[in-house]
Amino acid sequence: MTSTQPIMALRGARKAFGEHEVLRGVSLEVARGEVVAIIGPSGGGKSTLLRCATLLEKLDDGSLAFGDITAARDERGRTVYAAGDELKRARSRFGLVFQNYNLFPHRTVMHNIADAPVRVQKRPRAEAEHEARELIQKMGLAGCEDKVPCQLSGGQQQRVSIARALALHPEILFFDEPTSALDPELTAEVLRVIKTLAAERMTMVIVTHEMGFAREVADRVVFLDGGMIVEEGTAEQVIDHPREERTRAFLSKIAE
């Protein structure tokens, strides 16, 4: 039964900031091992969608579940959130990589990665640090254990933040424009790491402007505009042969 249950299920998500409706009924289910790329113009609701899925923003309407954990349910057109403990369990299911990393500037790379497993998940420090070292290796950051974030390049910082998220063993990893703050050559090294994770069948939802990357890595591409999913399908369908006029307009605009 767990194999058929989506890792994440967002249904009928609505969110308004004042009068401005940012999400107007978005549903997104992600299966185990699936990589979903979310593309679309800025202001189209991509970041808000991700922030609602990661419980940083509260939905006005709609439901949100991570596997068997219901974080938010729809009750007669209003979203009702679960109690604190249940939300805590829900949070343990996902990780989030921010656009601007949000590493803890006063802590070393090792501490940034290994602290949450120790303090939040109460795992033994030795075990957490051993695993952190492996992640540091995997991210191509060997030798950076004792550096602080300000001593690293943006690309390195973003890889630390990916390691930090992975250290908690999330079932699904969200990325909010992970390379938007980076130079092209630093972008490549971050994308390479994400591709490695995709090859390992890590479940991921990635908001991105990198069409080439989306085409390469995503099992499914979702085009979000005006707070709604305009079109979704394989990269070939959505990026190479878009059916919708809005998708075509967006793609030709960013191709310039």
Binding site: T54, L55, G95, L96, F98, N100, F104, H106, A116, R119
Partner: protein, 217 residues
């Protein structure tokens, strides 16, 4: 009167000044946290009361506040003033006055921590208390250190205000000696005491800043 006798009397006075200084730090540093939290409270009435409190503390002379606190028990409740009252009033006034200044410095530090830090902590599953203690507070300390240094140095000199209420700290002693000896030397010695002590304060602050300079954000 010999120089060494004057120096001895001034040293004795300086020990009283130091007591005012350390009692104020010990009281106002933690009280400031409470005041800052009240100032940022979600409860509007509490926020306003604290705001008015800070406004009065910063907007009226510390000297007047000492007098107000000294005489208030007598005028309000008819409580007889004792020889200890002056000292208690002085320490109380200094603590509640400096807590207001410290609170505003804490607030500026807390509000300067980017939202992203809180959001990263939340997504990683840290509790609110853990986020405050391990992630926010250490960063706040670094950010507020220069502003705190300013206030602490001002406090060293402000201890001389206790002279006005008749507490025998160093400045009172110096003034008495100037009058009785018809000499400006006691003032000069007092000035050296204040400056040397503040120089030490500066060294401590510089060491603390250096210790925290291993990162920037």
């Amino acid at each position: 009167m010999s120089f060494s006798v004057m120096l001895g009397m001034l040293t004795e006075g300086f020990l009283v000044s130091l007591q005012i200084f350390f009692f104020t730090i010990a009281g106002a540093v933690p009280l400031g946290v409470v005041v800052a939290l009240g100032r940022m409270s979600r409860v509007a009435p509490l926020r306003w009361i604290v705001r008015i409190y800070i406004s009065i503390m910063r907007g009226t002379p510390l000297m007047l506040q000492m007098f107000a606190i000294y005489f208030a028990p007598y005028y309000l409740f008819g409580i007889q003033l004792t020889p200890d009252s002056k000292w208690q009033a002085t320490i109380t006034a200094f603590i509640v006055n400096y807590a207001a200044y410290f609170a505003e410095i804490y607030r500026s530090g807390l509000q300067s921590i980017p939202r992203g830090q809180y959001e990263a902590a939340e997504v990683l599953g840290y509790s609110r208390a853990q986020t405050f203690c391990y992630i926010v507070l250490p960063q706040v300390v670094k950010r507020i250190l220069p502003a705190m240094g300013n206030e602490i140095i001002t406090l060293v000199k402000d201890t001389s205000l206790a002279f006005s209420i008749g507490v025998a700290e160093m400045f009172s002693t110096a003034k008495a000696l100037v009058a009785s000896q018809v000499s400006m030397v006691p003032f000069a010695i007092a000035a050296v005491f204040y400056w040397v002590f503040n120089f030490l304060v500066e060294l401590v602050l510089a060491a603390a800043e250096k210790k925290l300079s291993y990162y920037h954000d």
